[in-house]
């Protein structure tokens, strides 16, 4: 082969590998929810960039897309989604931005789902990101699929995912030691939001009732009255309200039934940071521990 041809071919190869992604040689990974920001941060380390699809401080249950979201969507090489009912607005944004061809990583692809615990029907619980077990499963799925899109870094993504999974298992083990020692025989819990079934399951605990009749929908006066009756009948003694979407309902229920009110974090507010998932999980586990202690004989 002539030297000129060789040079041209080499340049072509170099340019194709240097600009494999929209913004050059670094993949831009979009995420829809706070936990996915933490997961992806740990998986990619310093080898890719991450961008939340929507700004911080919005309630993901009733989000309405904004013009800035479209700009962000256009710059993504891939988007990590929950996909099972918690971020359906992401599909609207991607379609509206002309990014319907952007690859999507469905983090829950391999996760075994459960119904909303204590709910009135068998609606799928979309909150797989509020538990260490199902979080680890999603971390592996995301790492696997990111590796397919970015083969040179695939090995590193796998290693990072494993290290992160180990640190999450340590977190769980730390609290298991504390929670499992407590007397939970008198613990009867209700939650405002049907989000915490996976979290409770990994500690062998049950949710007796959920106040919201449907995901993200507040109960009517009649439904609330029925829930109060159900809570009294089931002997519920603890109610977990929402850390970020606090309403006055919890106070009403506390007054009417005498339950003790604690709160859980839905992990969907505040700044997007790599540490957010672990910080909020610690908050949840501290809250769970305090609630069980309060019911112990």
């Amino acid at each position: 082969m002539k030297p000129v041809k060789l040079l041209v071919l080499s340049l072509l190869l170099l340019s194709s590998s240097a600009f494999a992604f929209k913004n050059g040689d670094r993949m831009m990974v979009g995420v829809t929810l706070h936990p996915y920001y933490s997961f992806v941060s740990h998986i990619v380390g310093d080898r890719a960039d991450i961008m939340p699809l929507i700004g911080a401080g919005y309630n993901p249950h009733n989000y309405n897309p904004l013009p800035d979201d479209l700009k962000r969507a256009q710059s993504l090489d891939v988007l990590v989604v929950n996909g099972i009912g918690h971020d359906q607005w992401a599909f609207e944004i991607m379609n509206a931005s002309g990014g319907s061809d952007t690859p999507l990583i469905y983090a829950n692809d391999a996760v075994s789902l459960i119904p909303v615990a204590g709910g009135t029907d068998d609606t799928v619980n979309a909150h797989t990101f509020i538990s260490t077990i199902t979080a680890i499963q999603q971390i592996y799925e995301i790492a696997r699929q990111l590796g397919e899109l970015d083969p040179p870094n695939s090995e590193q993504y796998r290693r990072n995912a494993r290290d992160y999974a180990t640190s999450l298992r340590r977190l769980k083990a730390e609290y298991t030691q504390q929670i499992a020692k407590l007397d939970a025989s008198n613990f009867r819990a209700a939650t405002m939001h049907g989000a915490y079934g996976y979290l409770m399951q990994e500690f062998g605990l049950q949710i007796v009732a959920v106040v919201e009749p449907r995901h993200g929908v507040e109960p009517t006066a009649r439904q609330l009255a029925q829930t109060i009756d159900d809570i009294k009948a089931a002997g519920v003694n603890v109610l977990f309200a929402e850390k970020y979407f606090a309403g006055r309902l919890a106070e009403t229920i506390e007054t009417e039934t005498g339950v003790k009110v604690y709160s859980f974090s839905h992990i969907s507010d505040g700044d997007y940071t790599p540490e957010r998932f672990e910080e909020e999980m610690r908050y949840n586990l501290d809250s769970l521990k305090a609630a069980i202690e309060s019911t112990a004989h």
């Binding site: 996909g83 099972i84 009912g85 359906q88 469905y106 983090a107 829950n108 692809d109 391999a110 996760v111 075994s112 789902l113 459960i114 119904p115 029907d121 068998d122 799928v124 797989t128 077990i133 199902t134 680890i136 499963q137 592996y140 696997r144 590796g147 397919e148 695939s154 796998r158 290693r159 494993r162 999974a165 180990t166 298992r169 340590r170 769980k172 083990a173 298991t176 030691q177 929670i179 499992a180 020692k181 399951q201 990994e202 500690f203 062998g204 049950q206």
Partner: protein, 208 residues
Amino acid sequence: MNTAAVYSQSVSPSINRWETGLLILAVVAVVSFTGFYAETYGRQEKTREILDWQVSAYDGLQGVDQAIYNELLVAADEIQWMVYFYGEWPEDDDFQNDLLPPFYRDLSWERNGSVEWVLKNVVQEGEAQGLTLYHGANGTHADQGAYLLVIDHKHAGGSQVSAANIWWHPDRFAPVPRTSKEASIILEGWKQVVPYRGRDEVERLQDN
């Protein structure tokens, strides 16, 4: 003083029968549509057809069984990654070092029935590569079952597909199956656990 005669007459609507007929027709139409909609998009869509020798992880397993199944599903993934990184099948020491549930013996393990786990490597006749079984039994909860994680060596360490199968037996003392052939496992009363996965829910949401 004026006096006026008062007449009273009942007047029937001229299309009385038609209105009643139309109302009945409308009610029948609404009920039929609702029935059709519920049948098409209702809860049945959320579970695949479960065969006699299978059990649904979504609404077939309960409590401890469902929790251990979910842990096993993650463990199956982790075990294959451990094989990929270390080139060996992890044993009990590895599980204790890595705190991997449901094998890691902590208080959560105790709460889930202190299930005893045994690793068994099996090579079937005529095959160069075999299977690895993790058998869990003798749990302390009367209403829990026994568990079997089966991993096909051909896929272990691969990056694409998890070739793990998880089986459940209603008898918590069920022994390790005599052979690892599927038919034999089924004949010994084991049921393959079928999850309702995120990808199934995504398909359902996209179809709707």
